[in-house]
């Protein structure tokens, strides 16, 4: 493949970061099987190039809105893996104090304003966050990532239209893994798909191979620049594939085993490794990335396992400033 802009060091770093995501999720899946992760988790195994390519191209002050499948995005935005693991375990010191879990993971300190348990709900929220940036005169962007299934929800139309009409600094990213839960998304999608819908709403759309981390990063970087330059909202359609089930307990028996096997050959981490290898990067460096990631996540796991449960008082904290949440329940 012709790689005019190949920057080995940068790709190696991206390879390393993809491994962190992979290792985090593999750890989390194992912990779920042990009963340590409490609720459902949605691994993004096979989609790490999208996370590293898009979120990795943001500035720290840019804002991010993600989905139920948001571990990779959150890690890339700069959240601590240890805090995230504690959150998945429902422990004190989790990013959300153990009150959110995987589907509501967030780290406002690094501009990550939340995963979301409702498909597509992050789109309007992202448009509004960008609206706030504009009102406050801040020169950052909002990045909003959603899946291919989300393009069939009303907020896709309303939120993209909103961003266009008010000319807001949003980079929309459709991380298209071909599935929405057990459904092959194309069977439930009319017309040519995400890019055409964005364009019809007046938002320039760009398709990219979502398993090629460098390409994703190039596209995201370029689009982010355009947004910052005042070109209005932009749309990136990153085509990837969900290598595992919808949730960690889904064996994905509804799909062809042959196809899954073939898709594993397109694993974005393996692809990056292959390029690096072809350009002389040593096997020890590549496996070092994997090992460091595994070790980091093992430590996060041990730490999370040892963390205490949230204090009882946390139940009633941060509901709202006025009114007693225990009201009536225990009062008279």
């Amino acid at each position: 493949m012709n790689r005019p802009n190949l920057d080995l060091e940068r790709l190696a770093d991206r390879h390393r970061r993809m491994h962190r995501i992979r290792a985090f999720e593999e750890r989390a899946v194992a912990a779920l099987e042990e009963g340590l992760v409490l609720g459902a988790i949605h691994p993004s195994i096979g989609q790490e190039a999208c996370a590293v390519g898009t979120v990795g191209s943001l500035a720290r002050d840019d804002l991010l809105l993600s989905t139920h499948r948001g571990h990779g995005h959150t890690l890339e935005k700069g959240a601590s893996a240890a805090a995230m693991m504690r959150e998945l375990f429902g422990r004190e010191g989790g990013n959300c104090g153990g009150k959110g879990g995987s589907m509501h993971i967030a780290d406002f300190s690094v501009g990550m304003l939340g995963a979301n348990g409702v498909v597509g709900a992050n789109i309007n929220i992202a448009a509004g966050a960008a609206h706030a940036l504009r009102l406050r005169g801040e020169r950052h962007i909002v990045c909003c990532i959603f899946g291919d299934g989300a393009i069939n929800r009303g907020p896709f139309l309303e939120g993209l239209n909103w961003a266009r009409v008010f000319d807001l600094p949003v980079l929309f990213v459709c991380e298209d893994n071909a599935y929405a839960a057990t459904t092959r998304t194309e069977t439930m999608t009319g017309g040519p798909g995400p890019a055409a819908r964005a364009e019809a709403l007046g938002i320039p759309a760009h398709a990219v191979d979502g398993n090629d981390v460098d390409r994703v990063a190039e596209a995201a970087t370029e689009l982010r620049e355009r947004v910052l330059a005042g070109a209005g909202p932009q749309f990136l359609w990153a085509k990837t594939w969900r290598l595992t089930g919808h949730t960690a307990v889904d064996k994905a028996a509804y799909r062809d085993a042959g196809e899954a096997a073939a898709r594993w050959k397109d694993d974005p981490i393996a692809r990056a490794a292959q390029t690096l290898r072809a350009h002389g990067v040593g096997e020890n460096i590549l496996s070092g990335h994997r090992e460091a990631a595994v070790e980091e996540m093992r430590a996060a796991y041990e730490e999370a396992k040892a963390a205490p449960w949230p204090e009882t008082a946390a139940l009633y904290a941060d509901v709202q400033d006025v009114g007693d949440p225990r009201e009536a329940a225990f009062r008279w």
Partner: protein
């Protein structure tokens, strides 16, 4: 008799109604692969993809299309996956489905069932755990059902499907696995009739859905202490069986209402207000409501558990009732 789970009972009800009436069909995300909890397993194979229809992630369209399909002569059964996602289709349910028959002066009806798996279940957190039955009871035009047992799930889902009006049908996710022996021929149940699960003379406890099982556990505990509790399972919240509740409380003189939903503004308030008014002077103690504190549902299990109204809380409330009123 066949050992039947709550989940299987729902599947059986739908299948039997679909065999009986060709205008019945189901629609929702992932139904072709059995639905997200497996409640539709094997059904696409029997009835084909037109009658067990997949849907895009378009809750507003799922429910809105069901309204149109009902107005145009079919009986759609809508699967909402989680009761929480029904919040993406409230205009369709409340402004359209519930009001169409009335606003159009009786020209058309909306015979649809909205299945909404509800309640807390395995640390699903704030957006996948809610119990909002009180909302639906407040909306004219809606029938509201919340079965506690496999038998009721079978019989009441049939009744819901045969109803000519929109029914919000709340299955509790925590009940999927519970079992009951059911006959081969189970006729539809009656909407609006409560079930006395256990007779008793010292106090009445009213509940519905999964909470019924906690109440029964508490009643068992209390029986050992010599306290005799009458357990009433409302089953249907609109219409609700006021007569059955009043008859019971007239005998026992005491009432506890327990539900999983947030206590403030919960359906327990309606029951308590009604009984407090109707049986003023008959009640030996103030009606006691039990429900969740007014907080979103947290993820961490110990916090989630603190929200639960368990058998102990119920038993304690009954005991407190027997001590008589607290000073006002």
């Amino acid at each position: 008799m066949v050992t039947t789970t709550y989940m299987e009972a729902g599947r059986r009800a739908l299948a039997e109604e679909m065999r009986r009436d060709p205008t019945v069909w189901a629609l929702g995300e992932d139904l072709g692969r059995g639905g997200v909890f497996g409640q539709y397993a094997g059904m696409a194979e029997e009835f084909g993809p037109l009658r067990i229809s997949d849907a895009p992630i378009s809750e507003a369209a799922i429910l809105g299309a069901a309204v149109g399909a009902a107005l145009a002569g079919t009986r759609p059964v809508v699967e909402m996956r989680f009761a929480d996602f029904a919040l993406c289709a409230v205009d369709e349910l409340v402004n359209q489905a519930a009001k169409a028959r009335y606003m159009f002066g009786g020209q058309g009806g909306v015979p649809l069932v909205v299945r909404e798996p509800m309640g807390m279940w395995r640390s699903s957190a704030a957006q996948h755990s809610q119990s909002l039955e009180a909302w639906y009871v407040h909306i004219p035009g809606l029938t509201v059902v919340a079965p506690a047992t496999p038998g009721d799930n079978l019989r009441l889902l049939k009744a819901a499907i045969r109803s000519d009006d929109p029914v919000v049908y709340l299955e509790h996710k925590d009940l999927w696995g519970i079992e009951e022996e059911l006959g081969a021929d189970e006729p539809p149940g009656e909407l609006g009739s409560a079930r006395v699960v256990r007779e008793g003379s010292d106090a009445t406890v009213v509940s519905w859905s999964a909470m019924v099982h906690n109440v029964c556990e508490a009643a068992g505990e209390l029986a050992e202490e010599g306290i005799s509790v009458e357990v009433v399972d409302l089953r249907t919240l609109w219409p609700w069986d006021r007569e059955a509740v009043l008859a019971s409380v007239r005998r026992t003189g005491r009432l506890v209402v327990a539900h999983e939903a947030v206590l403030v503004g919960g359906f327990g308030a309606e029951v308590a207000a009604t009984v407090s008014e109707a049986l003023f002077g008959v009640l030996k103690a103030p009606v006691k409501r039990l429900g969740a504190p007014r907080v979103p549902i947290p993820y961490a299990k110990p916090l989630e558990d603190m929200l639960r109204v368990g058998p102990d809380a119920i038993a304690a409330a009954v005991r407190a009732q027997l001590l008589g009123p607290s000073p006002g």
